[in-house]
């Protein structure tokens, strides 16, 4: 059981598909115009991930190694088709608002990535939890971005008004360009954190190695803090 919980933690925090791995960017940007859409897309993808991971894990000894990618794609496409019908029947409003992006889950690289990296090598139960973790991580990422865009772009969260009446919504944030800007800001913040970390480590190693910070004449091309590259 411990291993299963570790997979969930890994998916949500350590290898979060949106914030850390940067996978599946097309749906991330396309459906995050409102929080409810982001959450819906995230949960749909989670369902697909759990099912496809379980199926692929079950079939991992049956599918020959050479044709495994087409095999995985067929499994994923079948699961997506089933989920699409379930959505159409039981949550038609979500089905309407996600539209084209539901069948496009097939080409979401997170799903094929997990199938290849985890489910094809591990037993069924951990694979299912791996799917759950990755899916929840994706859901958290999508919902966070969507909430941010919805607050700025229309002054609401999940459709409930939270900004004061006098707030003028910046509607560009719920339109296409807003997605690009929000994602750019997100990556920029991450880069800044990485730069700060690298600087902190760099100062330490400078003291230790006595590096004169003259990178262009230094022979150590493997140095992580080289400034000329």
């Amino acid at each position: 059981m411990n291993k299963c919980m570790e997979r969930v933690y890994n998916g949500i925090i350590k290898e979060n598909p949106t914030f850390v791995l940067m996978l599946g960017m097309c749906p991330t940007m396309a459906v995050t115009s409102s929080a409810i859409n982001g959450l819906g897309m995230g949960l749909t993808t989670t369902a697909v991930l759990i099912l496809s991971n379980m199926l692929i894990s079950l079939l991992r000894k049956v599918i020959p190694d050479k044709v495994r990618i087409p095999g995985f794609i067929v499994v994923v496409a079948s699961v997506v088709t089933i989920i699409q019908f379930l959505l159409e029947a039981f949550i038609p409003s979500l089905y309407e608002s996600l539209g084209l992006y539901i069948p496009l889950i097939v080409v979401n690289c997170i799903i094929l990535g997990r199938a290849e990296a985890y489910a094809s090598k591990n037993p069924v139960l951990p694979s299912a939890f791996d799917g759950l973790g990755m899916g929840l991580g994706f859901t958290v990422g999508l919902t966070a971005i969507a909430i941010f865009r919805e607050i700025i772009g229309s002054g609401t969260i999940f459709g409930a008004q939270i900004m004061p009446e006098s707030y003028e919504p910046v509607s560009i944030f719920v339109l296409a360009p807003g997605a690009f800007f929000v994602l750019a800001a997100l990556i920029a913040v991450q880069n800044q954190i990485k730069i700060n970390k690298a600087k902190a480590i760099g100062e330490k190693t400078q003291l230790e190695t006595g590096c004169g910070s003259d990178c262009s004449h230094c022979g150590n091309s493997a140095c992580g803090t080289r400034k000329d590259n």
Partner: protein, 191 residues
């Protein structure tokens, strides 16, 4: 004829596949460092999307609909596209080596381009016939090429600018794409 022109303008400019529908973002961000490579990628995409929208709409209209198998569209389309890219690659290698050389590495990359599957699904959604599907596929790909080449041009200029450390790379590219997307809103009055 008029209808086809409207489809062309609509797909290439107004509903640009990358800038307003977010399909094919990975190659859009990944292969847009130089104008030459962007052009190569664009040509390959035009080639593949036009052919694949022809075949997928042919299969959908004359095979899946008569057999009442519309629900299999996603599975069938993805397999057709994957197989098609393989065949196109083998065919070009044998018979048009010069084109194969210039498209080279971009061809296999296209299978992972969600724009290809996206166009096939849009064709079904809008219930286009075969001719309309081909026109729609071609114009969507032209829109893709247009935006990736423009972005590559901008990125070549950005190389020489002094931008904050944390914005280098992907963030500044995304900001450019966002500004381009605003600019493309200007086309929305065309149809």
């Amino acid at each position: 004829m008029k209808e086809l022109i409207i489809i062309f303008i609509g797909s290439a400019l107004v509903n640009n596949v990358v800038l307003s529908q977010f399909l094919g973002l990975c190659p859009f961000l990944g292969v847009s460092k130089k104008t030459d490579t962007a052009m190569g990628m664009g040509t390959a995409v035009i080639f593949v999307i036009t052919i694949s929208s022809f075949f997928t709409s042919l299969i959908y209209n004359y095979l899946l609909i008569p057999l009442d198998l519309e629900y299999l569209q996603t599975i069938v389309f993805i397999l057709v596209i994957a197989a098609l890219v393989q065949f196109v690659e083998m065919f070009l290698k044998k018979s048009v080596p010069s084109l194969y050389e210039s498209l080279g590495v971009y061809l296999p990359l296209i299978t992972t381009n969600c724009a290809v599957l996206g166009v096939a699904l849009i064709n079904v959604q809008k219930s286009y016939g075969v001719l309309e599907s081909v026109v729609n596929g071609f114009s969507t790909a032209v829109g893709f090429t247009l935006s990736i080449v423009i972005l590559a041009g901008i990125r070549e200029r950005i190389e020489f600018n002094d931008i904050p450390e944390c914005l280098k790379g992907t963030p500044i590219t995304l900001i450019c794409a966002g500004l381009m997307s605003i600019a493309f809103f200007g086309f929305s009055g065309l149809i």
